[in-house]
Symmetry: C2
Subunit: 362 residues, 2 copies
């Protein structure tokens, strides 16, 4: 049997019980009217967590990185200028993908651990076709302001990675001027990984690449699957029906609690963890004022073996926390309190366990 | 609550109980050593069902059509000549994808309902870089001989769609000369849709596109995720851990029964259905001698309303069968007996129910 793990890393988090239970329900065919209704309800709830009225809001049949690919293959025309903010791994990945789509990519590099500076993006090029930025950088635990860039983007499209922010932090796609957004299910939505909540504005859809390099992520075809009226749905690919059932249940759980309450719960749990760690002498990694609540990055204390601590937590407490990324692999830990784990109890449990692990592995 | 459906369409099928139970197990992190072991075991079992020793055999984080895209974006270099057999929808889709990858595509059209003629593919071009064909056409219920083309392919790569054949019909990727194969989980493996079992030979991998248009399906990066030794796994994207647990359980169930026994069970159930339908006066659609056992295509009798019958089955018997595809949408039914549904009991249940439905809707 698989042991229970406390999943306090950068994701996946432990899912909500409702999301797990839905995976065990009888399977529906992907063209069953009951499944189509479920997909419609799921898309409606996705619009709520995105803060959008975009018709084309749907769960893509891939993980969050597949959502990133869908965002770019459908919007980047060869030769387009794409200004991409890089303040962590996922900005780098966005730049890589945009380049593969034929964009002339201008990256605006920021020190890891600091937020995106919208003005630097605006200054990088007078009239780019596309801006890209990460709302909540999973690799560093930093949240960035999206609205400033959204208000000043001019004619450009704004593509935003909301993988770690969705359903955990305030997110208002329409108010903030997000044209294309993608996310994941395995963070604050509290569902297993495997789907990418996605949204695209009419304006971006109208400018889309009409035959993108990717068939699988071709929104022109995918759009018909979710937006056509009853009976007019066109078959594109077999939807991952079990995962969609789980996503519906997770979203229902989130919206029953209410988005402001869920955001507040993530905020309180994360701040409790961060305050507790600082009180105990740990140093936080992300810049003050830009710290994500749902994902805390901490510097590994001098003389402490990062990997040994993580191994001890896994074997002695069946608890997972994340390593840092890139050059911070062995000097930063990443601790997620997401979905059902966004509680004071989890915050104190992981803080105490880290203290124990540090003492045990010195 | 979701009602139980008898899923006798072209897929998804009802999953094996073991596969459903695995979805409810505690979630593991995607970098947890226990998950890496699970992924290794899953890849080992995938090698068995593929009939291959390819190191790079893995479940892609997408549905079967994502597997098709991975096959082509990694092997088609712009300007390559790709000879693609079209004897149904999925051959057409392969041609579409190869074209988007920049191939000069030569399609070899066959009448729908008939098998692929290897000689016609060989005659289509003297030295193509790639041949593509579908082993088991889900749109028509036809199985085609792969080995003849594999033996005569020369220097070309052979890409094969095994979505509906894997774990249901004899499949021997290495013996048959398959260089790249992709499949789905929701047919004879008896697992919910959402992953694409995939295999690529060393020969094809060495010739791969080094920076394919798709980042998500870039095998150069994905390969490191499954082939590196312990501790050296590189993070690419967050694996859909719940679906992989389910796939492991489904494959274990299949291999515990034994592949020859599973193939025979699919064969017996399908032939029983086909014989029963013919005895009752129905006309089968696929050409005699090339009929898939796990997916039976039947002509809708004259004067019978295809959609009304399917609606009656769904509402009165909670049973799904499939419509035909393309020009056969209202003149053909597709009946799948796959995974746990490959039984005499299911064969007779669906045959009886169709008789009832035809009588009730006349």
């Amino acid at each position: 049997m698989t042991p229970f793990r406390h999943l306090y890393g950068p994701g996946p988090t432990n899912p909500y019980d409702e999301a797990t239970a839905a995976l065990g329900e009888p399977l529906l065919g992907h063209l069953d009217p009951l499944f189509i209704e479920r997909l419609d309800r799921t898309c409606d709830m996705l619009r709520e967590v995105w803060g959008t009225e975009n018709t084309r809001t749907l769960p893509l049949s891939a993980t969050g990185s597949g959502g990133m690919e869908a965002a770019l293959v459908n919007t980047v025309h060869p030769g387009d200028v794409a200004v991409i903010a890089v303040n962590g791994l996922f900005g780098l990945r966005m730049a890589d993908m945009a380049r593969r789509c034929g964009a002339e990519v201008i990256t605006v590099e920021h020190e890891w651990g600091t937020p995106v500076d919208a003005q630097r993006l605006l200054d990088a090029h007078p009239a780019p076709q596309l801006y890209g930025m990460v709302h909540a950088e999973t690799s560093t635990g930093v949240v960035s302001d999206v609205a400033t860039l959204g208000a000043a983007k001019g004619d450009a499209l704004l593509v935003v990675d909301a993988v770690t922010s969705i359903a955990g932090s305030e997110l208002r796609a329409d108010d903030w001027g997000i044209d294309v957004g993608y996310a994941g299910t395995q963070k604050c939505i509290g569902v297993a990984p495997g789907l990418a909540p996605f949204t695209i504005s009419d304006r971006a859809f109208e400018r889309r690449v009409t035959e993108p390099r990717s068939w699988y992520f071709d929104l022109g075809m995918l759009g018909g699957y979710v937006t056509a009226g009853p009976g007019a749905r066109t078959y594109h690919h077999t939807a991952p029906v079990a995962m969609v059932a789980s996503l519906e249940a997770g979203l229902r759980r989130v919206l029953d609690e209410g988005l402001p309450a869920v955001w507040a719960r993530h905020e309180e749990a994360g701040r409790l963890l961060q305050n507790t760690l600082e009180e105990r002498g740990y140093e936080l990694f992300a810049a003050e004022g830009s710290r994500l609540a749902q994902l805390t990055s901490v510097r590994v204390p001098d003389g402490v073996d990062s990997a040994a601590v993580r191994r001890w937590l896994l074997t002695e407490r069946s608890m997972e926390i994340g390593a840092g990324v890139g050059e911070f692999a062995s000097t930063v830990w990443r601790i997620g309190l997401m979905g059902p784990n966004a509680t004071a109890e989890s915050a104190l449990r992981v803080a105490d366990a880290i203290d124990e692990a540090v003492a045990a592995t010195r």
